[in-house]
Symmetry: C2
Subunit: 335 residues, 2 copies
């Protein structure tokens, strides 16, 4: 196990992306995103994802060089055509103008379409909260999730992320899939021969199953909280695809691109300037009071706290990377 400096890890990932056909801009944005996830202990969206990024780039499914095209949608609405590129560069291109719009009018919707989102969602909202805004983000993905009663999946694992500023420059962030389990967790359970928890999946005939292979073999994941989670999946599918002009999760078809792993769908963000709100005490102070009430009630950790603790450790000690992972990463650099 070695401990890498954040910038050194970013440089390595940047080299992987660029050698596999992305522009320097795209390489930098994706490298920082991926290294941030690893740094913050969100390993499922960290270095683990690099092989999938590379396989997708090599498959020709995604365009790693394209420039996102911004389209004025209104004083509080910004459309972005990611043009079959990654979602993060599209958001990075839109963010400065979107922040300006939200500060000028009180709110701004960012509607990104034809975008590949293969990363965690909290890095998309966190920077807005660090600038004092409230941000809600929704992304749809591949059809892995069936609504209760359905025979096959329609929804993606459709994450919802939320970020808001707290007092003292801290923030509150959550990022959660609508499925009980992540798709990767089911693959790991199948590999290791473990049963899934109840209510996590159905088999190809729509019957509840705890067998991970039955879920992967034509079955589906289930939303958390039954029909209530399914309603949230529906909202996210509508906001991330119908509103943006992206594909629905069930419309994504990468069969012509073996190796492709990134869903090509859409993403919607809602930014709100909380200084426009009606709190005399100030929004961030009120959020802080709520956090105090939650701690007093016995909730020890707030959403995002674990990531922030991992980040602090990584800043002090470096980011732990195994020798095996380092070899794998070096193997991803295209000659």
């Amino acid at each position: 196990m070695t401990h890498m400096d954040f910038d050194a890890l970013v440089a390595l990932l940047r080299r992987i992306f660029q050698s596999n056909g992305t522009s320097a801009t795209v390489a930098d944005i994706l490298a920082r995103n991926c290294a941030s996830a690893e740094r913050d202990g969100a390993m499922s969206h960290g270095l683990f994802r690099m092989a999938g990024y590379v396989a997708t780039l090599r498959s020709g499914w995604v365009d790693g060089r394209v420039q996102p095209r911004m389209e004025e949608g209104g004083a509080s609405f910004l459309r972005v055509d990611a043009a079959n590129g990654f979602a993060q560069p599209a958001l990075a291109a839109a963010a400065p103008l979107a922040i300006e719009k939200a500060r000028a009018t009180g709110a701004c919707v960012i509607a990104i379409r034809h975008s590949h989102h293969f990363a965690a969602l909290w890095p998309d909202v966190e920077p807005f909260a660090q600038q004092g805004l409230v941000a809600i983000a929704m992304v749809n993905s591949m059809a892995y999730v069936a609504p209760p009663g359905a025979r096959h999946p329609v929804y993606g694992t459709n994450p919802l992320a939320f970020a808001a500023p707290r007092a003292d420059g801290r923030i509150i962030v959550f990022d959660q899939a609508v499925s009980v389990l992540a798709h990767g967790d089911v693959q790991i359970a199948a590999r290791d021969g473990h049963l899934l928890p109840p209510d996590a999946g159905v088999d190809a005939s729509g019957q509840a199953t705890r067998d991970p292979r039955a879920v992967l073999d034509g079955g589906a994941l289930l939303p958390f909280g039954g029909h209530k989670g399914a309603a949230i999946a529906l909202m996210i599918e509508i906001m991330a695809a119908a509103l943006t002009g992206g594909l629905f999760s069930h419309e994504v078809d990468w069969s012509a691109h073996p190796g492709a792993q990134t869903p090509s769908t859409g993403q919607c963000l809602i930014l709100i300037d909380p200084t426009r709100g009606g709190s005399a005490a100030g929004f961030a102070n009120r959020v802080e009071q709520l956090v105090t009430a939650l701690h007093d009630a016995g909730q020890e950790r707030m959403p995002g706290d674990r990531r922030l603790a991992a980040r602090a450790r990584a800043l002090r000690d470096g980011i732990p990377v195994s020798a095996d992972m380092l070899r794998q990463l070096e193997g991803l650099i295209a000659p």
Copy 2:
């Protein structure tokens, strides 16, 4: 059992409200809201609520005559001080300007504070979808819901409602509490001696319990979907209270007003004009395609379908009201 015409029921409810001290405007808005819930088969928020409205008005906890005060928050932000009145008249006052703002800029936030919300939430979003907008609404309430691991409740049952237009003038609407069960369901289980489902509540020491009396006696409801539902409860608490300037659920204290039943908190709505989005096929057509895909997968009913079917029946046959309920309602008219 008698079948009442919608307008006749509204007239009766209006009389109850007005005789108990509301203005004619407030009486009309609340009467239509309550009669609509009964008409649509949402009985828990229909005539059943009238006794609570009247007890609350008589307790002096809510002001049934006050005019909401609108405050310009920006081109896409509208603040409303409900001034200790009901939430529905505040929203009714804000809606025309909010729609105008959403159509002009692409989005509008409505932040209502010092408002009493005792009704279903879907009537707040449905009219916006009928006018072609997407609407998201969040309300906080009384502290009944504990985050996992907490010893006492902090969140309200904090409903989230969403509405979007479909093709052919139809709409899609959902409205769901963050708690597994409604507070009223627990009261009914306690009365009838039934056990609660697992994972629905905790007792006063924070231990899981299926005993409804233990939940009501110092215990708490739990959010649906464990920590994922709790994160949604947190988002709603922040949006409905910290953003608007309303009270948090755990801050509501009606102890000086025996009989009071309406939470005095806040409400946030986000309106989005989907014609600003990037769908070439048109937003409503795309939503319709998603509904078709869900039906094809085996989901028979969409959120809101049951209410719309009940509405159609009531339009044809009238709204069924028992003789007992009619007597109770007549008994609520103040002399």
